[in-house]
């Protein structure tokens, strides 16, 4: 009385690869989002290699044919943007490093150092208020401060005698300091969340081992902050590199020797004869390079940091 234990349909099913509807759905969603995010970048990339004629003659996302290919747009873009690019680097790298350092020391002082809970809370509230001050609200007082109250151009007068230094560079320095000040609160908050998860006993053990407050920061807390430093560094670098409003307010003109890459980019490829799409795309991709490199460099720490924070 033995029956076949499997029907024909079951046998067929067993031969098919194991497909799970959830996995198929997931793959479809991922494909969709991949296409969604990659399409504009791809379109920009192919456009940047097209001649003016090819831009109008071909569909935007189709690569240029042999006759429509050119490197001229990239050449011109790099040529136009290089000074702004260097200015941006000179401003972004120090302000990011300083912000990350000050943000983490501030968070350390507000979480792991014991000097009165009430006072710590009061200072924390000040920081939180700092996060919510809108850029637009400070533009006028900010430029007034750097021009009338604390004019760096005059304070640093002897410096402009040096080679390659121009008074306009004082504005770049003001911009750097402004970004540091504006960045500290949020960086502090990110580090604070991370430091709250560290065990108090770690700091207490170090105290008993004879370490001072600064030594504990330098030898215990800072090395343990690596994942969070990755997160904050990427975030802060990208924010400062891409920032436009402060640059426009403090530097003013894209023709200034201190103009940042975002300022120069805003006018690139537009003139009376129309918009040069190829040039604009090449410029945009060139200007975005540092942020892409930073992501690639810190990707591992970024992922670890996000995991640690949650």
């Amino acid at each position: 009385m033995s029956k076949p234990t499997q029907t024909r349909a079951e046998n067929v099913a067993r031969m098919l690869p194991e497909l799970n509807y959830w996995r198929i759905a997931l793959a479809l969603v991922i494909t969709f989002f991949f296409a969604f995010f990659i399409a504009p970048i791809w379109t920009g990339l192919v456009t940047s290699f097209k001649t003016g004629a090819a831009v109008t003659a071909t569909t935007p996302f189709v690569p240029p044919g042999p006759g429509g290919f050119t490197l001229e747009k990239w050449g011109r873009a790099i040529d136009h943007l290089s000074t702004g690019f260097i200015n941006s680097l000179i401003m972004t790298v120090p302000s990011t490093v300083v912000t990350v350092f000050l943000g983490s020391t501030a968070a350390y002082g507000l979480t792991l150092v014991d000097w009165g809970k009430r006072a710590q809370f009061a200072v924390l509230v000040l920081f939180l208020v700092g996060i919510f001050i809108p850029y637009q609200a400070v533009l006028v007082p900010l430029s007034d401060f750097w021009i009338n109250i604390f004019p760096l151009v005059e304070v640093l007068a002897p410096v402009w005698e040096l080679e390659f230094m121009e008074p306009a560079h004082a504005r770049l320095l003001s911009l750097t300091i402004t970004h540091v000040v504006y960045g500290i609160p949020l960086c502090m908050l990110l580090f604070r969340g991370y430091y709250l998860t560290l065990s108090d006993e770690l700091v207490e053990a170090a105290k008993i081992d004879g370490a001072s407050i600064t030594t504990i920061y330098r030898r215990i807390i800072l090395p343990l902050s690596k994942p969070m430093i990755g997160v904050v560094f990427i975030y802060q670098f990208t924010a400062i590199w891409n920032e436009f409003l402060f640059s426009l307010t403090l530097i003013g003109s894209s023709s200034s020797p201190a103009a940042t890459v975002t300022l120069v980019l805003s006018g690139l490829g537009t003139d009376l004869s129309g918009i040069d799409f190829g040039l604009r795309m090449a410029g945009a991709l060139f200007a975005a390079l540092p942020t892409l490199i930073i992501y690639a460099l810190f990707a591992e720490q970024f992922a670890k940091g996000l995991a640690a924070d949650n």
Binding site: S199, I208, G210
Partner: protein, 385 residues
Amino acid sequence: MAELSLTGTTKVFKDGGDEIVAVDNIDLDIEDGEFVVLVGPSGCGKSTTLRMIAGLDKPTSGTISIGGEAIQDRSPQERDIAMVFQSYALYPHMTVRGNMAFGLEESTDMTDAEIDETVTDAAETLGIANLLDRKPGALSGGQQQRVALGRAIVRNPEVFLLDEPLSNLDAKLRAQMRTELQQLQDDLGVTTIYVTHDQTEAMTMGDRIAILDGGRLQQLGTPMECYHEPANVFVAGFLGEPAMNFFDATVDGATLVSEEFTYALPDEIAAKTTDGAEVVLGIRPESIDITDDPDSSEGIPATIDVVEPHGDENAVHLRLGDQSEPTLTAMIDGMRYLASGQSVRVHFPTDSVHLFDAESGEAIHNRQLTNVDRVQEIGTAQSAD
């Protein structure tokens, strides 16, 4: 190495408008090289006391001195102490060597070569020399525990503080480390304060134990003193497993009257009580005699509720008279057979009963030890360790 003393040490925490007294006026004198265990239930103030000695919490009032020098106003960095934390608190980004060397680098002027030698020596003592280049994350719980100990002993401090160091280990390893720790402390001869909530650790490890409850010191004495001559109901109930049995009773002449039974007091105990006083009668489970002879009319009638075999002995839970819940626990020999539901009679030998004042909890009378000399001998042998 030095003696440590706490005088009138008090710690009050402010929580909003409330004041919580965590440690209430504790006096404690610990001799040079002594191993003292602070023991008590959660929230008794034992950890706070330890943290005040370490300098992690500042006493609200009172003094703490090491080697005769008042240190309560010094920061932890300026006190010559080492501490082992319950979580071990190893620096996760440093190797075992780095962890052990850190304290020496920060608190001494030793050269790198000297530090390295000291660390290697300590690691060999603890049997972790082969782990020196690993990070804490790659170690087992027992190994991490040894590293935490190693980090403390390399410092060669005046006082060693241990905060429940064994509580994260499994039972077998804990028993092994208990012996090893005692041995180590004996070899090093460093004054040691050990905090635990485990009365077995307290009984087996300490030269003396300090029992705390509600922030107050209940009793300070050798384990044997505290066990056999508890100062009050709390100490009597806290030490010993299973715990001492307690019955509320009233003194009526030379007789104790409780809800379940009456108990005739011998003259010498009766002399310590006043007629009509409310007292608590205490008897340890191992002192109780159980008779299963149905013809016997001595003792209190009882019914056996549950028998728990422990191997060498059995714990018997009994209902007295016609009670519905068991109120008495007795320990009997492991080879003796008693069945659940069996009717028996229990007898409290007069030389093993304890009597406490019901209101204050203070001991009125403690058991009379038949071989006092032997107990004292064990007590002194432990103190000399």
